[in-house]
């Protein structure tokens, strides 16, 4: 996991939803890093908002991959610069179809103490939502769609 701190471009994208079992596996892998005292995990779940009387049943995510991964590398570097005690940072985002109730996004930071992990996750989540060229087509129960926009 210390190789996480190297700043080569890592792929964050996974096809379809993020499986909770994958998150458990990711947590388990940190058991050997006994300098870690705190994990902070943010998970995004597709919400079944009601839009013009129809429910969102899924979101289809697309991305401008190369730009997204370049921006993500810069965000990762910024996070380790601001929270140098952070032990590791894992980010995954879905592409393709994610049903309402499924997970589409994970930001997972670990550190010796809680404040670094907490602050880093908040900052990274906010930066990703603002800066990564990811697009979401919300599929509605009436078979129409709308394009999601982060406010």
């Amino acid at each position: 996991m210390s190789s996480e701190k190297t700043h080569k471009v890592k792929d964050i994208f996974v096809e379809g939803s993020i499986d909770p079992a994958f998150i458990a596996t990711s947590i388990t892998k940190h058991a050997t890093r006994t300098d870690i005292g705190a994990h902070e995990i943010f998970l995004g779940q597709v919400r079944s908002d009601i839009i013009d009387g129809s429910n969102v049943v899924a979101i289809e995510y697309t991305a401008y991959r190369d730009m997204a991964l370049e921006r993500m590398t810069a965000i990762r570097e910024g996070a380790f610069a601001q929270w140098p005690s952070m032990t590791c940072l894992h980010v995954h985002h879905s592409l393709g179809n994610v049903q309402a109730g499924e997970l589409c996004f994970m930001v997972f930071a670990s550190a010796p103490h809680r404040v670094a992990a907490r602050e880093a996750v908040a900052w990274v989540v906010d930066r990703i939502k603002a800066e990564l060229p990811i697009f979401g087509r919300e599929v509605l129960s009436d078979a129409t769609h709308v394009w999601k926009t982060n406010a």
Binding site: T62, Y64, L132
Partner: protein, 74 residues
């Protein structure tokens, strides 16, 4: 030069890439407005070599250009 289109912009254009001629950002914006219906009414940003730019810089034609609707990650 080739222009990548994403999300709502690609949907409106009916394609996910276009080829246009432009030697400045302003020429590029004009060319895109001719090719993408209602582009002026759609919130979007233009990325040059994966960075969003707002100026009127010259373009050599070798840049990677993309038209990006609002982001929706997370």
């Amino acid at each position: 030069m080739e222009v990548l289109l994403f999300g709502l912009i690609a949907e409106k254009a009916g394609v996910d890439r276009l080829t246009v001629d432009a030697s400045t950002m302003q020429e590029l914006r004009n060319a895109l407005a001719d090719r993408i219906p209602d582009l002026g009414g759609l919130s979007h940003a233009i990325a040059v070599d994966r960075c969003i730019v707002h100026d009127n810089r010259p373009l050599t034609g070798s840049e990677e250009i993309a038209v990006l609707p609002p982001f929706a990650g997370g």
